[in-house]
């Protein structure tokens, strides 16, 4: 499926999300990287060792969720823009999804944008909680999303833009 459409399946996703207990505890990183390619910036960027150091350049990233503290530096380090951070219990009724973004202009804090799923379909309007500019030009956008959408929202559409 992923190889034919570019969209991962629920089975794929299952492999990279931690158990419910860990999800309830705080932010977790979701690395949607399922193909062995020679690429190691995520593991190098993680100073906590939460993304385990690679033995081989083509290793898939493995996350130690006990070491992960939510910093999110890996989001902008990934050349494939495949890393997301989610926080299930960000607010009472809202979760937080942090996504990488390389489209200009960046949305601003407080702005309403369309949340898109992995196929680019619109899921609804959500609020930008934070837009963090990063020196390497892969910015990190934090979105407040309904809890039901947290595993689905992976992109945005800014009104009148891409």
């Amino acid at each position: 499926m992923l190889e034919r459409t570019g969209i991962l399946t629920d089975d794929d996703l299952e492999k990279v999300i931690p158990d419910k207990k860990r999800l309830a505890k705080g932010p977790v990183v979701i690395i949607e990287c399922f193909q062995k390619i020679p690429c190691d910036p995520c593991a190098i960027s993680c100073k906590l060792g939460a993304i385990k150091p690679f033995k081989d350049i083509s290793d898939l990233p493995i996350v130690d969720f006990d070491k992960f503290n939510g910093c999110g530096i890996c989001i902008s380090s990934c050349p494939g823009l495949a890393i997301f951070v989610i926080d299930m219990n960000y607010l009472d009724k809202k979760s937080l999804v942090k996504i990488p973004r390389e489209m200009l202009p960046l949305p601003e804090k407080g702005e309403d944008v369309y949340a898109l799923d992995r196929a680019g379909s619109i899921l609804g309007k959500v609020k930008v909680a934070r837009a963090l500019k990063i020196k390497n030009k892969t910015s990190i956008i934090s979105l407040e999303v309904p809890k039901s959408m947290v595993m689905k929202v992976r992109s945005i559409k800014v009104e009148g833009k891409n």
Partner: protein, 348 residues
Amino acid sequence: MKITDIAIIGGGPAGLSAAIYAASLGAKATLIDDGLELGGQLIKQTHKFFGSEKQFAGIRVIEIAEKMIQDIKEYDNVEVIANATVIGYYEDEVITIVQGVNGDMLKKLKAKRIIVATGASENMLPFVNNDLPGVYGAGAVQTLMNLYGVVPGNNVLMIGAGNIGLIVSYQLLQAGIKVEAIVEALPKIGGYLVHASKIRRLGVSIYTSHTLKEVYGTDCVERAVISEINQNFEFIPGTEKELEVDTICLAVGLSPLSDMLWQTGCQMKYVPELYDYVALRDDNMKTTKDKIYIAGDVAGIEEASSAMLEGQIAGLNAAMSLGYKCDNYKEQDKKLKAELKELRDSFK
């Protein structure tokens, strides 16, 4: 006639790496490139480099090019002949160079060694009306868009879901241009799946087992018909879809640009895995002609990391063969070859 130690033909990742390495050992290097600026395809690439942290991973490709071009400038023993095409080789290692926008300047250069790093050319695709304005190669789209800031079209159909097709689609989206769809003849996406996913979630459909059948338009591209194909790459009747697009971008593979090597008379061999005829060479990147080396895509289509390593290997060994000293040659040579092997193993 001007004389140089090493003439390097092509200023992309392989040629730049070869020039830097040879110059660092003291050899006089002359780098000849047909672009207005050095860098080859690197200067059109805005994405972050994959690969190992040792070889620029995570850095935007354009910045890698800028760094290498800066490094070149720091060597007094490197001469750059830009905006110039090498048009002929004579067997006493004299090459003729045409320079200038109108090609009105002819130069001759005698080189003790030649490193051919001419890269690759894009493949064409046969379909009805493939000569209509609006049909581009992906390289041309990148040149217009990323070097000259010119919009190549408004609504693009990308042909090919290899890394080039995927990356150029993403760049088009970043430039605010609509990408109608990506079609791929193979049943699977050929490029990195993370590239495919990031384009998919911006709403661009990827049709695998599909190809372009026809393009229509009076003076330029107005519509395209795509069709599903079977395992034998034959059209499946009734599966056609018509798309309103004004631009067709072809990203259907590359072939080594080896005309110069044919002319030198070095031994060539057809290697399907390397995508065409390539020059036979030893592990120092030396061809069957003692004074001619190769590096980069002309030696077989790979990617920028391996081109850079091959360039370094060719630069090092060409300089050594001229008697320049490298204190820890054996160690350096071994290290570069090991890195290249590691990189290739990682693609298996």
